[in-house]
Amino acid sequence: MKMKLGTMAVAAVMAASPVMADLVFPSLSYRTGPFAAGGIPFADGYADYFTLLNERDNGIGGELANVIECETAYNTEKGVECYEATKSQNPLVYQPLSTGITYQLIPKADADGIPLHTMGYGRTSAKNGKVFKNTFNYPVNYWDGASAGVNHFLSLNDGSLEGKKITLLHFNGAYGKEPIPTLTALSEKHGFSLNTIAVDYPGQEQKSQWLQIRREKPDYVLFWGWGVMNQVAVQEAANIRFPMENFMGIWWSGSENDVLPAGDSANGYKALAFHNVGADFPVFDDIRKYVVDAGKAAGAGDQVGTVLYNRGLYAAFLAAEAAKDAQAASGVSDITAAHMRDAMEALNITEARMAAAGLPNFGPEFQVTCENHGGRGDVAVAQWDASAKSWSLITEFAPADASVLNPLIEADSAAYAAENNIKEGCK
């Protein structure tokens, strides 16, 4: 007890001197732990885009952006600590980058009035902004992904999946279980049979799961994995000679790290995508010029143009655009989290805006409203070319099946609202 009091006195002095910053964008990153291979490029992309804005444009509307990194190691306890440590510095938006941490932060963000952006992860029903007032999951969520995957299989089968077998191989946790209700509903609608196979954390051992897949011979395998689980699954699929073009991962299972270890046998593996791939965009020239060559890149600076780096960059781009809108709407450059929230709720991403930022055709166009915090849910399919060692989009961005998803979202968000006494409605 005495020791604790001593450290308290010391640390009280530390906490008394916060960095008075400009526009604060906390990054709850994970550069350590079992998912670091995915966390590092995302965090680099997120930080580099803001560095670019600071170096090239002198910040956003004249205010410098300040990215505070806090290491979570994908651990929910550290996520809480990071949130509490940074929330006193007027953060504009949080990107938890972990479904577990998202679930913890959704109620806290509501209580503190700080927006949460969970891009392509987190709680799907947060799309219903009438209940989840401070949580945004544009442009896509997991249920969009599940629907888009099924849509792609439909298009390969002339619009009918009657009698087909689809297996969902998923991480046995919140993240992996999210798509199950959607896929169940879709299987009833389209008449395919669904089988789910869980892989326990961290997923380095999947022999029995793939033995089961080999026995059941599904027509398609959908895959919800993250971290080391991805490479193992791709390798195991190659080992049982499962046709790679029938094996499709969610966007978190579709980076270079996941397919390179399997070499040529990973050729043809598909993954869903909600933003474009590759480094063939004007913004990357600026990043090389102002950030990497100037020695200001986050991390080692070797991730530019990888799938997850692009995703971090895209998250930063969306946050920066919302901040610009907030400045325009409020008339002050030093905006608050409340301004940011309102701007995120009115965010309208058009092709012209993406092109102006040096990201032409980088992601889908979408519009956020109070009723819809998730956009249209446009998803494309990417395929891996092992000889060229590159991903390429093989379809256009196409919307998910809203007729199936919307009732599910309504039901889940209504359950949350009832559990927590939230009154539905827009401001």
Partner: protein, 358 residues
């Protein structure tokens, strides 16, 4: 000079058998309680509560629980994470089924349910010992986490398998959910810590504790002098699981707010609580507090110094943290195998003779 029995006369049996017979020790204990109850709640904010005090208090309860089993009764257990999960899920089911009941009652019942589960998994301890028992409790850890992941009833059929604590109150003050006050959650957990520590301390000083220690020191000899091993071992499992269940319930409902069995209550939890008990000192209530403080405060302190003061990259500090904590564990095990509690005992002996050590 300090900690002397001289001049401290007991005139009645209760005085003679009180928890802290030495006057200085007793006053120090009162002072700590006074500061914890009347000073800290008025000075803390969200950050201090959520990153230091809540984890410290909650882990202290878990460490007290495990210390009873491992330190006092000598039954090695690696199932702490699983038992914490039982407490958490029991609390969640109670909170959602009986929303109008006070959290105090929910947490206590969650502890009792965990005690029942603990007794069930303690049954093998009657036949197997040592490493073999450790493996049997490890099975409990994996089985319980699997169960909570597998059976949707436990997480109320939510889409993702996450459990989230809704807003619940004690005497009209919010204890769980996002709108809690820092002092309320702190005092709520502190009340359970004091409750657990007082019960544990008195149990271990009484007939139960003596039976546990007899079993720990030599079970055959204990049986010969009349200790019933069935009762002693199972009661140790029950009491230990009761405290661990309380800590699991608080960990989920008050501290995290949302949890998932495979993530929040993994095997890592079992190990970290075991480390707390070993570093703090086996068979010591104070050791449970010291171990919990050590493993909770040290990473946060290292982070504050490394990232906020020196400005190193976060990943370097995170890796350094692992190195420093690991090295300190090894150093402690070599230099002071009886843990921080032994250091404290040695300090007391020194203080007793000070300033004339001869």
């Amino acid at each position: 000079m300090f900690y002397r029995e001289a001049g401290d006369f007991s005139t009645s049996y209760p005085e003679d058998s009180q928890t802290f017979p030495i006057r200085f020790d007793r006053y120090r204990y009162y002072l700590v309680l006074f500061v914890a109850i009347f000073v800290i709640p008025f000075t803390i904010n969200d950050y201090w509560v959520n990153s230091i005090f809540l984890p410290f208090l909650i882990y202290a309860i878990a460490a007290i629980g495990l210390n009873i089993l491992v330190g006092y009764c000598g039954q090695v257990s690696l199932g702490t994470g699983g038992f914490m999960a039982v407490g958490a899920y029991a609390c969640y089911k109670l909170m959602t089924s009986f929303p109008e009941v006070s959290m105090l009652i929910h947490v206590l019942i969650a502890g009792l349910i965990t005690a029942g589960v603990g007794v069930l998994f303690g049954l093998p301890s009657l036949r197997i010992k040592g490493f073999y028992l450790a493996v049997a409790t490890l099975a409990a850890q994996f089985f319980l986490v699997w169960l909570f992941n597998r059976v949707p009833w436990f997480y109320n059929y939510s889409a993702s398998g996450q459990i989230s604590a809704p807003e619940r109150t004690v005497f009209g003050i919010e204890i769980t959910g996002p709108n809690t006050e820092a002092w309320a959650t702190y005092l709520f957990c502190l009340a359970f810590v004091i409750f657990s520590a007082v019960i544990a301390r008195n149990l271990t000083r009484g007939a139960f504790g003596r039976k546990w220690m007899a079993i720990r020191d030599m079970d055959i000899a204990a049986e010969i002098i009349g200790v019933n091993p069935l009762m002693a071992k199972l009661s140790a499992f029950a009491v230990s699981s009761f405290f661990i269940g309380i800590s699991g319930a608080l960990f989920f409902a008050v501290y995290l707010g949302a949890a998932e069995a495979g993530d929040a209550f993994s095997i890592q939890k079992s190990f970290i609580v075991l480390f707390m008990v070993i570093i703090g000192g086996l068979g010591s209530i104070f050791g449970s507090f010291a171990g919990a403080a050590f493993l909770v405060v040290l990473p946060v302190a290292l982070k504050l110094v490394g990232v906020d003061w020196i400005g190193w990259p976060t990943d370097i500090v995170a890796h350094l943290n692992l190195v420093v904590v690991g090295a300190l564990i090894i150093i402690f095990l070599i230099m002071e195998p009886h843990g921080l509690a032994q250091l404290w005992r040695v300090t007391k002996e020194k203080l007793r003779l000070w300033p004339f050590p001869h």
